[in-house]
Symmetry: C2
DNA sequence: ATTGGCACTCGGAACTAGTGAGTGCCAATC
DNA sequence: GATTGGCACTCACTAGTTCCGAGTGCCAAT
């Protein structure tokens, strides 16, 4: 038995199963692929592949279906990156270049991913914690209220209304704005928080209390990781294509999509845009989603992974195509963020 | 035949069908409801109700199912508002009071609606066009770049980066900030845009060009109704409960949920929080959703409807309960916005 | 190692009762 | 005239049965 052909058979099985969604038999295989051998030979190979755990039979006397392990081997060794069509590249470029702000970039990315892969797309907002402070702005809303606006390098804006313990005159607010920006501008969030601790000391005794309140609010805004968890989902209508096993696979999927925490865990750690994470079936960290695969990658300006984006779909998916698309979108988004 | 009892029969049919999800027959009806008459009598009433188009038989020898017209009559005349349980009221109050900003209020509202009604919830962001300007802030990002931050009475923040045709000194920027706020602060967006037209004239010849650029960007941000169309959806996992007819009803629903424009049309015009809009089956403006009903209402500070929220579910839903919940949530949200 | 032949398996389609909830109608009763 | 018990009838649904064929594993021949 030729090892190389055995792998070719596995590849053929995966490809056929993905496109037809039906267990593939030996006869159909030799017809669709020029394997140059007879069905009997293929059957021998199949038996071996089954022994090794790469494929199974849903029931005796049916064709074979790839196992998670089979898909894994396929992804790792048997598939080559499927280059995107010119039309797809153009679609990505034009759609993303029309984006006006960060929200828009994220929105468009989800839509793009969902349309191109025909799967459910997930995009995480750029992570707060790794970005830097662009500017801090204070706006007086009344004698004892301040609006605090924190602008980050990613284009994200966090705002807080602060109630002051006592009135501050305009001059002090000016001074505070200057001091706050001096301490934080250009800094990473983690560093900025530390530097802020020293700010109140620079003020007169009388003002120190309200300044502390403002500083506290700012630190809180910086460390508020609630917004780290923001993700956007799109293409849920593609779930309808899952067709079979509604309860078994669509319902847990819908439930997962409601829980952002779950989604974040699915996407996993942000990797560099050049590295793709592929999780297949049981490799996914949720048991209910064991018939589901995740293809994800990090993105962010300058190859620094600020956040993650990807797609979720049935294990039975077109891995080469999906992987190419996810990677391409991540790269374009990174480029856009770089320029913005 | 007693007209009043006929209606009681219709009510009973709706209630039973909603809770059991199965066609209801005459015998089962008299057993579950104390109607005080025999099945035969109920059958006569049913025949009459069917003639009048309020109920139908899915097939010859099966029980009856309400038609859209039947639900309509039920909603209009037969149902009384089901008061919320204390626990529900408490849940609404505590969940919404924990909200920190507008985004959070919207998020929590969707979640709340979805959980309490066990349907798909939709909440539209407060409409830009009717809100007023709270503050305009300018932040210099470099000699020829300005960050424009527009803060609205609803708590919404719009931002734009403006490229200036020439450098501006700090003093001019200060002046511009003052002039912009003087012209717009507290104004409705529509009025503010008009007032802004006069701002450039207040500046020296030399500065007029950059000022115009900033004003233009601000007007653009104000009239950018793109964000008017923002809606948030939650509880899609409840679609799994639709159970029957996956393709027939869940798929078009999922598709609709992707299209914000469609959702906005579903929610309809914002009404006062005291008025509920109920659209049943074919009354919904999309043919694909003809097995679906919408319960929606407006919300906003001070009984002024800034936006709409509601739920979408199968025509076969618990109207009294759902209507009570939607109304209650709308009122609480309005109250929160009032205070914020 | 490959191949043709062959007996075997078994899920799914197609068909066939059998069952019972539910109906409509009618004559009798209140 | 409204109500009711009786009764024949309908028809979706279930369970049981048969049948078919794609697909398999094994074996002897090449």
């Amino acid at each position: 038995m030729v090892e190389a052909r055995k792998l070719a058979v596995l590849r053929a099985i995966v490809e056929d199963y993905v496109s037809t969604q039906e267990p593939v038999g030996s006869k159909a295989l030799v017809e669709r692929h020029r394997l140059g051998v007879s069905p009997a030979t293929v059957r021998n190979d199949m038996a071996a592949l089954e022994d090794e755990g790469f494929i199974t039979q849903p029931h005796t006397s049916a064709g074979r279906v790839p196992t998670d392990k089979g898909y894994r081997l396929f992804v790792d060794r048997l598939s080559q990156v499927k280059p995107l069509s010119a039309a797809e590249k153009r679609a990505i470029a034009t759609l993303l270049e029309g984006a006006v702000d960060l929200d828009d970039v994220v929105q468009r990315s989800v839509r793009l991913l969902a349309q191109l892969t025909r799967q459910v797309a997930i995009v995480q907002y750029p992570t707060l914690s790794r970005s830097t402070v662009r500017h801090v702005e204070l706006v007086t809303l009344g004698s004892t209220r301040l609006l605090l606006v924190l602008i980050l390098s990613t284009g994200r804006v966090e705002q807080r209304v602060v109630e002051l313990p006592e009135a501050l005159d305009d001059e002090t607010v000016q001074g505070m704005r200057a001091a706050l920006n001096l301490a934080t501008s250009g800094q990473k969030l983690s560093d900025a928080a530390e530097r802020l601790a020293e700010v109140p000391e620079q003020f007169d005794e009388v003002d120190r209390r309200p300044v502390s309140v403002v500083v506290a609010a700012l630190v809180e805004a910086m460390s508020d990781h609630r917004s780290d968890e923001r993700v956007v989902v799109g293409g849920t209508a593609n779930l309808a294509r899952f067709g079979d096993g509604f309860d078994a696979s669509v319902k847990p999927m819908l439930e997962a999509l409601e829980e952002h925490v779950v989604l974040l865990k699915l996407l996993g750690e942000a990797t560099s845009p050049s590295t793709l994470t592929v999780r297949i079936g049981h490799e996914v960290p949720y048991q209910e989603l064991s018939t589901t695969s995740v293809v994800a990658t990090g993105y962010g300006p300058g190859d620094e992974a600020l956040a993650t984006l990807g797609i979720v779909g049935p294990t039975r998916m077109d891995y080469p195509g999906t992987m190419a698309t996810v990677r391409a979108v991540a790269r374009y988004v990174s480029k856009i963020l770089d320029e913005g």
